[in-house]
């Protein structure tokens, strides 16, 4: 069988693209080398749905972000996806930072985010009474929100699957050739044929171009971000996302609530060559905690729940590395560095336009699906009712995050079952709470036995 489109990679971009093309009536094959969706750069981010107020004006990035933002808010209720309407404040802590606030406000207006406004230090404190008294002034961005960074993509992929998209996990693209009409893509699990390839390989986007086009038009320079997550008790100390005044180099350290009722501080911005190792280090984590305490002193007595790190697929340039090779039926959606969560739906829509452009005058045509199925996913955020409050939930398995047996079963059995422990965690939050699996991990290993592509336990032992 020859698919219309072959998508490489199931990060936020690949998932949104798979859905968009499936909705457009294309026959889509998605290949992912991990055991589950979101196992690359997309598994670890700050989960902010950006308005684009500070994105480069007039850029493709800005338009994709804003389109992605709009589409998310438009479809989220139908998929049962949460949004925390936190708003954000860019807080000036020094005179020097304060001087930059006008420029931030001006750029926000230019970027079509008209509702930003200035807050005096007393307005800042009345909005955020637990914030340090050292805040001088702030720019308020009311529509900067926080989302669940995983469930949307599960919802998109379930929809794509219902529309006939075909997924292959633990399937690594290793080579391939284009014969002028059709691509044959070689993987560790056989070959796949498609007329068009869309490269959404994130941290390996340049490698895919080298491998399949012979040369890469950009190079990835991973940029690591480390985070510390505070206990849920900390969520009472903060409503609004606290953003720093950015410097030339980085957007800086953010303090915000998460959709799961915690408070998060991060990310750092550390350049590295390694594309796989997203490591944390002790000194940096301690600095992050200190930084968080400087902003909200009450965090000092709050326990830490989790630590993590993610790698941004940054490239040698700041902007998105989106490229069409019409002669080779090829689209690269690369270098989606630090706004991909927000922009994914917008990038997907843009990719479809690029594809249509490429198809113009060609015979093959695809027809959008009328009345596509929209399956709501289970809410795992603290913003909407959770399964533990409903009868018949099977009882709690993960106590810290109140994950029920029914939720675990669904994650293991559902339309797009979890492929590994990470996928199970991202679908349900099991094991992500303050005990980090002390209480539930063995139970999860037993429940998921013979049901994950990558099992949790190494063997059974006689009772």
């Amino acid at each position: 069988m020859v698919a219309d489109v072959l998508v490489i990679g199931a990060g936020v971009v690949g998932c949104a693209v798979t859905r968009r093309f499936a909705l457009a009536g294309a026959k889509v094959v998605m290949l992912e080398k991990g055991a589950d969706i979101l196992s690359g750069a997309s598994k670890a981010n700050s989960a902010i749905l950006h308005t684009g107020f500070d994105a480069p004006s007039g850029s493709l990035e800005l338009s994709c972000m804003q389109a992605g933002y709009r589409e998310y808010l438009e479809i989220r209720e139908r998929f049962n996806l949460p949004v925390l309407e936190t708003g954000a404040m860019v807080v000036a802590w020094t005179e020097e930072q304060r001087e930059k606030l006008s420029e931030i406000e001006r750029q926000a207006h230019e970027n079509g985010v008209p509702d930003v406004s200035r807050l005096t230090s007393s307005e800042v404190l009345s909005r955020e009474p637990h914030l340090s008294r050292n805040a001088l002034e702030a720019v308020l961005v009311p529509r900067e929100h926080v989302i669940d960074p995983w469930s949307p993509f599960l919802a998109y992929m379930i929809q794509a699957k219902a529309l006939g998209a075909d997924f292959h996990f633990l399937t690594e693209v290793m080579g391939g050739a284009f014969d002028g009409e059709t691509w044959t893509i070689e993987t560790n699990r056989g070959s796949f044929r498609a007329r068009t390839v869309i490269n959404c390989a994130g941290l390996y986007g340049d490698r895919m171009e080298e491998l399949l086009l012979g040369h890469a038009h950009f190079s990835i320079h991973p940029r690591k971000g480390q985070f510390v997550v505070f206990d849920k008790a900390a969520a009472r100390l903060l409503r609004t996302i606290i953003l720093p005044v950015p410097t030339e180099r980085t957007k800086g350290i953010v303090l915000c609530r998460t959709a799961f009722g915690n408070v998060l501080v991060g990310p750092t911005a550390e350049e590295q060559d390694d594309r796989t190792r997203a490591t944390t280090d002790e000194a940096t984590l301690r600095q992050l905690v200190e930084k968080a305490e400087e902003m909200v002193p009450g965090l000092g007595s709050m326990p830490v729940t989790a630590i993590y790190a993610g790698l941004r697929p940054a490239s040698d340039k700041k902007h998105y590395r989106i490229r069409v090779e019409p002669d080779r039926n090829w689209i690269t959606l690369g270098g989606i560095r630090s706004t991909g969560l927000t922009a994914s739906l917008g990038i997907a829509a843009h990719a479809l336009n690029l594809y249509r452009g490429m198809q113009e005058g060609r015979s093959s045509s695809i027809e959008p699906v009328a009345d596509p199925p929209e399956h709501p996913v289970r809410n795992i955020s603290e913003e909407m009712p959770r399964d533990w409050s409903q009868p018949g939930n099977g009882g709690i398995v993960c106590h810290c995050e109140l994950v029920t047996a029914r939720e675990i079963e669904e994650a293991l059995n559902g339309a797009l079952p979890a492929g590994d422990y990470g996928g199970l965690r991202r679908r349900t939050r099991a094991g992500m709470g303050r005990c980090q699996g002390f209480n539930c991990q063995a139970h999860l290993a037993a429940m998921s036995k013979d049901r994950l592509l990558l099992p949790m336990a190494v063997s059974e032992v006689p009772a």
């Binding site: 490591t279 944390t280 326990p303 409050s389 209480n439 190494v458 063997s459 032992v461």
Partner: protein
Amino acid sequence: MIDPRYDVAIIGGGPSGLAAAAELKARGISRVVVIEREAETGGVPRHCGHPPFGIREFGRLLTGPAYARRLSAMALRSGAEIRTRTAVTAIKPGSEDVTLHCTAPEGVITLTAGRVLLATGTRESPRSVRFTAGERPLGVINTGALQAYAYLEHLAPFRRPVIVGTELVALSAILTCRSLDAQPVAMIEEGPRPVAPSGLFLYPRLLGIPVMTGTKLVDIAGSSRVDHVVVEDPDGHRREIECDGVIFSGRFVGEAHLARMAGLDLDTGTGTGGPEVDQFGRTSHRAIFAAGNLLRPVETAGWSFREGRKIGGFIADDLAGRLGETGRERRLIAGDGIRYVMPQWLAGGAGGMSQIQLRVSRPVGGHLVAEDAGGREIYRQKLSALPERRVLVPQPPLAGGTGRITLRIVE
């Protein structure tokens, strides 16, 4: 949902909660409920598949699971109501009663009680809290999870783990590994000497497990499963140890989330991490008590059992209007050389726990002295102790009077 009212609701069905329930029933309290989130009561011993448990309570040497079953049977026989698979999600103290919000397979349940006993126990610090560097592969777990893999689920999470820490529980990690046919490749300890009595470390050595003191875990490597770790010795030399798992043992922390969310005063910083209590186990809210390892890291099951029984008795006294004043007359402060003191408060009135429990923060030799707010010495005892070892001070010499008392070490 019906809104049952209890005289006492006990949150947590481990050794301390079950002992308290039995004592309350023995003292004639009519409506006592134990609320346990797991499918079975018994607490941590449910998954400690090895002895020694139960010698003082039942006069027999038992494994943890056998001990847990005996405790559960005892509590049932006492006539206490046992509600398993029910997790308390919030405690809301009211003017009369305390309301407990719970979740169970049938959904949300609320109930009220005149007194609440928090007996939610303790757990080990996970890797995240220790800020251990590296990647986040599978196979990085605590001893508690390891025990559950081995004794409850009969699964092996790895074959060749490194054990971090040398508290007693690290020896349980070795025993548990052996039951899985897993061979620990090293035991590493940041401090200069093992935390548990050093004689016990003959055991790992006999099994060929090197015990590396003054050694810090500085990197965990592996994308899917653990591939190796990197350790650093006191001279800053680093080396790789090949392994497929890491067991983070010990560094116990109380399961204090409910207490924190209920707004109870907690002994934070270098304190116990649990709720602050007086000698009757009363927290900063007069109707809420605490017992067992939630009170402090960390004691044995037998200790927690006896503590539960005692505090159960104080609750019975309180319901009969016979407990001393609720005022918090004396504050006990952990001074130089002391990591924590429990109870943190002494209310007026005689009785209560007969001993103050504390831990030293460094190896000490000399005297433990207690001084009042004016710097006057009111008590002194000889003391040589290591951190993490039980230290007891008689309560009566400190009781009576008001103001703070600082306990400190004079070397």
